[in-house]
Symmetry: C2
């Protein structure tokens, strides 16, 4: 596609984002992009666009030679994968916001891009309007990235904020998040940490060149959290945030997981409230950087999708530079986590799995302990996955047994070492 | 320069940043970039690089056909302009961190890039390691930018932080900033707001396509601030920050200035302390975004310069897209500012220049008033430039007389309307 080629867009899905894109493109002739066809499930609904644009037949877009760009904005990840891979095979560039689909199929999607010499852009898939992927890909390219720590799911962050600041209960906060349109259509994706881990898998590729399926990354959402946990956090001057972490532990290895985390007031992530997202990027030269903005919703997602559409005019494609450059990183479990675990009495034996129990508290309603555990242990212990047990990260301790250990201090997000 | 061409670099200046770049490039063979020659002023100093690399003769770099990239890191803006323009004319790509030089000569430098089909990159010139220019240029390209508000000078921010948090006096804080290496070699550039306004001029080009010489932008640094001002800010729950503003007031006009500003605790800029920089970007779709990181110093500047060098491998150049796209913006003075002015008794008559005085206070040490003034008036009143008068921005009020006014609310950085 040569510079400033007209973009003839086939759009899949006409929800709030699709409608937003349609309306902005109409108002922005300078973009030189027109929506030629819109594929939807049901024709009979009222839509804010001319009737003749709509079709229920995907092939009217996928096999139309005039259409050179497909914008995929549907919910169903498997259907989206079918559409996107077909479009790429037909030599069309694709813009997608579907993190679940991208995280699950990234290696195949990269192959398709290479084979068919087309570009697949998905800035909206991670932190909505915040340009995370593009900056990891382009800007943090030669500076050694120590860590990525992000609040990447607006829905759970909204719920946690309301629970901590307004003392709402979980159900009330979730309902409100759904009403405000922050939550995914399947809220399980949000609250169980699956949306966050999908985003983390994409980040791992662009930050470190690591291919990993999201199901292979340790993750826990916010459904296990007990009201005592929120209370405990507040007493110690922390808040609980759901943080997606990728931390470089030595010159070849990165650890990654999504966990509820105690965050102290001096940490920039503590200032990320409600539906906002925020990302802390730690690097050798640039030190600490913080990117903050709206991670979801009609307009922020539209903004990111539009940026991708605009970038296609300039033949932009992700180079996946980290995958071919040195050092070559692999995902590791060689780390020790300091965790707070709260649990009902029946799970008392879980403390046997800790390397060291530093603090222990029992009461009739709920017990808790603070201690250290190997990351590789935490992944395998059954109690971690049980509803009656809630695990909150206190800090990350580089594995002192590892020879090639980086000279990094314990990564502590909280105000103070909790057990003082 | 085709993809992955070897970069043969001629370096001008070997201060802390130059030395950092030299050391990182040596350790990063994957960048495929080598420093071939280093031009310096004095040969006799001890340097951390092989002796044979150094020269005092600029032409050994500028006219060496092997050298395809010039990295300019010297202090003297006029000498830097001579070097950079010569290098561009010789068909060499250039990376520079010299905001003063770039702000003063941007139109000529853009012409030279076009004429000689070369690229001039200068991400380090604005907010050091924070990728501000690249994101304004590439990412905030199709979303309507409402405003850019930034703490863009680390040295003054360090001084203001120490004055407010540690109650240091101005001189003590300045001295410490200089010792820590945050301050420019000529501290006047920092404390008089000249460095900030240079950066703002560059931002105006990339955010709005506006060409303006920095001397034509209203600016005041922190040298006029009185200890009573800091005290007053604290009493009202605000802090004083030096903020560079570019605000879109209607579909064709932008106002811009650098002023000390009352910032409330809920504003993200209030969390930018010490030598850090932070930028709030307001846009129609993405809403509010915040970018934060180290704005100056050896490593953050090196990080940005390295990113530019790396980008040259991929033929990256600024497209200056806003200059050729619609709407076409011009710099305007059609706005009303609400300001706090503190002054010694002899300047009492300044209140006659205000549209409305909302609050007035006199005491033996210092008087102050709060009121509204036309931006176009403020630029011309002599008292604004007098040492005995200190002006702090409270809020920006869109000019209600203007017909094409945007529906934006008063832009208020502070905790509360001060005069309640």
């Amino acid at each position: 596609m040569s510079k400033h080629t007209k973009l003839n867009i086939g759009l899949f899905g006409f929800g709030v984002v699709g409608e937003g894109i349609f309306s902005v493109l109409k108002q922005t002739p300078s973009l030189n992009a027109t929506i030629r066809k819109i594929a939807i499930k049901h024709l009979f609904k009222e839509r804010n666009a001319p009737k003749e644009l709509f079709t229920t037949d995907a092939s009217e877009i996928l096999f139309d030679p005039i259409i050179n760009v497909v914008v995929e904005l549907i919910d169903d990840a498997e259907a989206a994968y079918h559409i996107v891979s077909q479009a790429l095979k037909q030599g069309k560039h694709v813009v997608s916001a579907n993190k679940k689909m991208i995280a699950a199929h990234l290696p195949e999607l990269i192959d398709l891009q290479k084979t068919h010499k087309v570009s697949l852009l998905y800035e909206a898939a991670v932190c909505g309007s915040i340009p995370v992927i593009r900056n990891l890909e382009e800007y943090y390219d030669n500076d050694l990235l120590h860590s990525f720590s992000g609040i990447v799911n607006g829905s759970t962050n909204y719920i946690l904020t309301k629970m901590s600041q307004e003392k709402w209960c979980y159900d009330e906060a979730l309902k409100q998040a759904q009403q405000l349109g922050f939550a995914e259509s399947d809220p399980g994706l949000d609250v169980e940490g699956k949306d966050a881990v999908n985003k983390l898998a994409i980040v791992l590729k662009h930050a470190y060149g690591i291919d990993v399926h999201p199901t292979n990354i340790l993750h826990q959402g916010i459904t296990h959290l007990h009201e005592k946990d929120t209370q405990y956090a507040a007493e110690k001057g922390n808040t609980i945030k759901l943080v997606a972490n990728a931390v470089c532990i030595n010159k070849q290895e990165v650890i990654a997981f999504v966990l509820p985390t105690f965050v102290g007031a001096s940490n920039k992530l503590s200032s990320v409230d409600n539906e906002y997202n925020g990302v802390l990027i730690g690097s050798k030269l640039a030190d600490e950087q913080f990117l903050y903005g709206k991670g979801a919703g009609r307009y922020p997602t539209s903004s990111a999708v539009l940026s991708d559409i605009a970038a296609l005019r300039y033949q932009y494609k992700y180079e996946y530079k980290k995958s071919s450059s040195l050092p070559e990183y692999t995902l590791s479990q060689q780390a020790v986590l300091r965790i707070y675990v709260s649990y009902s009495a029946q799970h008392q034996s879980l403390i046997d799995d800790l390397i060291r129990v530093e603090e222990q508290y029992t009461c009739e309603q709920r017990n808790y302990c603070i201690g250290t555990i190997y990351l590789k242990t935490l992944i395998h212990v059954p109690w971690f996955y049980k509803q009656g047990v809630s695990t909150v990260l206190v800090s990350i301790i580089p594995d002192l047994d590892s020879k090639d250990n980086m000279e990094i201090a314990e990564l502590d997000y909280s105000v103070e070492t909790i057990y003082n």
